[in-house]
């Protein structure tokens, strides 16, 4: 026990000494690591936010409004409606009459006054579809256009393929993000490795003596691994705080612009823990690689 404590104290003390003696290199290492952790954490949070927003959009977006011609007979409409109802791609269909359309539109005061001026109701009746998949929207769009009962001037209303494209973009962002994260991870391991090499180099006499008098490899290694872990931890704490602050500002700014991005507390906490553990792990691993060469002799 006494021995373990003394070893731990020796390792901690040496790690702190290394950090201070090579303060410039250590701080540069911590700063670069911090920047990388910030980039990883920031992009993860950003993708997550975009994802959340898009998922909400997807639910809104699987709507299709089919405008009906004023000349369409009620029988033809009912026929079309029941055909849609039995279509497996469809979740629900509702029929909106001209009057309902007018009522709906009148909620907006300027439209209400415009309608009052017109005297008649120019708004068409419509069938409102909810479909199971976004990709069905374009299929229904094409089918509707071929129907004689559908208003030929403005047959349908839906978000066309914007959503689909955004989805592709998200997938691409996620892939690119993953690849960049792996590259950044490798870079941070190399950075830690080189920081530790500097520390090892400035302690080469000490290491030589340790090996000569019969210290074990792990005894030689621990101070450097602790130093790497310390660096990783510091980097993760600082960049984690910055990521957290930036995320809050982002959410606030987005809400100011009517784009409702929810503040996901659970995701954020998980992310911060992952960043901390990741920073420490990367620090330990980089240091391990950094001292390895000097111990093999």
């Amino acid at each position: 026990m006494r021995q373990v404590l003394a070893s731990l104290w020796f390792a901690l003390h040496s790690a702190g000494q290394n950090f201070r003696r090579n303060l410039g290199v250590s701080l540069a290492g911590v700063f670069t690591m911090g920047l990388i952790i910030f980039l990883v954490g920031g992009s993860l949070l950003f993708t997550h936010s975009v994802d959340t927003v898009l998922q909400g959009q997807e639910q809104n977006a699987s709507h299709l409004k089919i405008y009906l011609s004023d000349n369409a007979s009620l029988a033809a409409i009912t026929n079309f409606e029941s055909r849609l109802k039995h279509d497996p791609r469809v979740i629900s269909v509702t029929f909106e009459t001209k009057d309902q359309a007018q009522q709906q539109a009148s909620q907006n005061p300027s439209i209400k006054s415009a309608l009052a001026v017109l005297g008649s109701n120019p708004l068409p009746a419509s069938l409102n579809l909810d479909v199971r998949k976004l990709t069905y929207l374009s299929q229904f769009n094409a089918e509707a256009k071929a129907m004689p009962i559908v208003d030929s001037t403005t047959p349908t209303d839906y978000n066309s393929d914007v959503i689909g494209k955004l989805n592709t973009v998200i997938t691409v962002i996620e892939w690119v993000g993953a690849i960049i994260a792996i590259i950044l991870l490798t870079i941070s391991i190399v950075i830690i490795m080189n920081t530790i090499r500097t520390a090892v180099y400035s302690r080469r006499t000490e290491i030589e003596i340790m090996k000569l008098v019969g210290a074990t490899d792990w005894f030689v290694r621990w101070p450097f691994i602790l130093e790497g872990m310390l660096g990783g931890l510091l980097a993760a704490i600082f960049s984690g705080a910055v990521v957290f602050g930036a995320y809050r500002l982002f959410v606030q700014a987005a809400q100011g612009n009517l784009l409702s991005v929810p503040f996901d507390t659970r995701y954020t906490i998980t992310l911060l823990i992952v960043l901390l553990v990741g920073g420490v792990a990367v620090g330990a691993f980089g240091s391990f690689l950094g001292v390895r060469r000097f111990l093999s002799a």
Binding site: R2, Q3, V4, L5, A6, S7, F10, T205, E206, E208, I209, M210, K211, L212, V213, G214, A215, T216, D217, F219, V220, A297
Partner: protein, 251 residues
């Protein structure tokens, strides 16, 4: 083996025991092709004091490095205390090295630590948390005659004093074998003589001492066992030898 038998007549009784160091047909070829040692056979017994002499580049340091398994021999076998070190696993090296105390021409002191801290360092990294560390450190510093320099830093000391600190550090874990590779290489004759006296004193306490040197005066004054190496070969092994072969100008 023949060497050990030949010497037995002049040797104290404990020499009948198994040698503490033995080399059997040891050669060392460095990766660049340099043949540093060729077919070396050697036996050194507990309590021996040996000079390892020879010109620069003869292979003295290589022999020392093989002993502490800093390098592995290319062929042959080396035993320390009956344990074969030539094929020892990396994991066992710390234990092997604790049997040795070793000093070099450059003293390898830590400049940011005091004399006492330099000596204590050897204990801290091998036996962390050991009790009575301070007393042990003071005791060895008293043996080397530096009991009044405990809190000085190495660059406040003379070369001879620095080498004494290195000797104290090598002694603090009570090694069975003391290795000194050109310990007087950087010192003037008087100081060198003081260091050799100290090594003899350490030997007198029962520790086996092997000192590699090309300091002719010292070897000729002390007249102890001399192992001469030239071009990687043991060319002479005498119980009470001099630096050069008696009555000649060659090793």
């Amino acid at each position: 083996m023949s060497v050990a038998v030949a010497e037995r007549s002049a040797a104290p009784p404990q020499h009948a025991l198994r040698p503490v160091i033995s080399f059997h047909g040891v050669s060392k070829v460095y990766p660049n092709g340099t043949e540093a040692l060729r077919d070396v056979d050697l036996a050194i017994h507990q309590g021996d004091f040996c000079f390892l002499v020879g010109p620069s580049g003869a292979g003295k340091s290589t022999l020392v490095r093989l002993l502490i398994r800093d390098e592995a021999p290319s062929t042959g076998r080396i035993f320390i205390d009956g344990q074969e070190v030539s094929r020892m696993s990396h994991r066992k090296l710390p234990k092997l090295r604790r049997k040795f105390g070793i000093v070099f021409q450059d003293y390898k002191l830590l400049t940011r630590r005091t004399v006492a801290q330099n000596v204590a360092f050897a204990l801290q990294v091998t036996r962390p948390g050991q009790r009575h560390m301070r007393e042990k450190v003071e005791e060895v510093l008293w043996i080397v005659g530096l009991e009044d320099k405990l809190d000085k830093f190495p660059d406040e000391l003379s070369g001879g004093e620095q080498q004494r600190v290195a000797i104290a550090r090598a002694l603090v874990h009570r090694p069975r074998i003391f290795l000194a590779d050109e310990p007087t290489g950087n010192l003037d004759p008087d100081t060198s003589w003081g260091i050799v006296q100290l090594l003899l004193q350490i030997n007198h306490r029962g520790t086996t001492v092997l000192m590699a040197t090309h300091n002719r005066e010292v070897v000729d004054l002390v007249r102890r066992r001399v192992i001469a190496i030239d071009n990687g070969r043991v060319v002479r092994d005498e119980a009470e030898g001099s630096y050069l072969r008696e009555g000649t100008a060659t090793l």
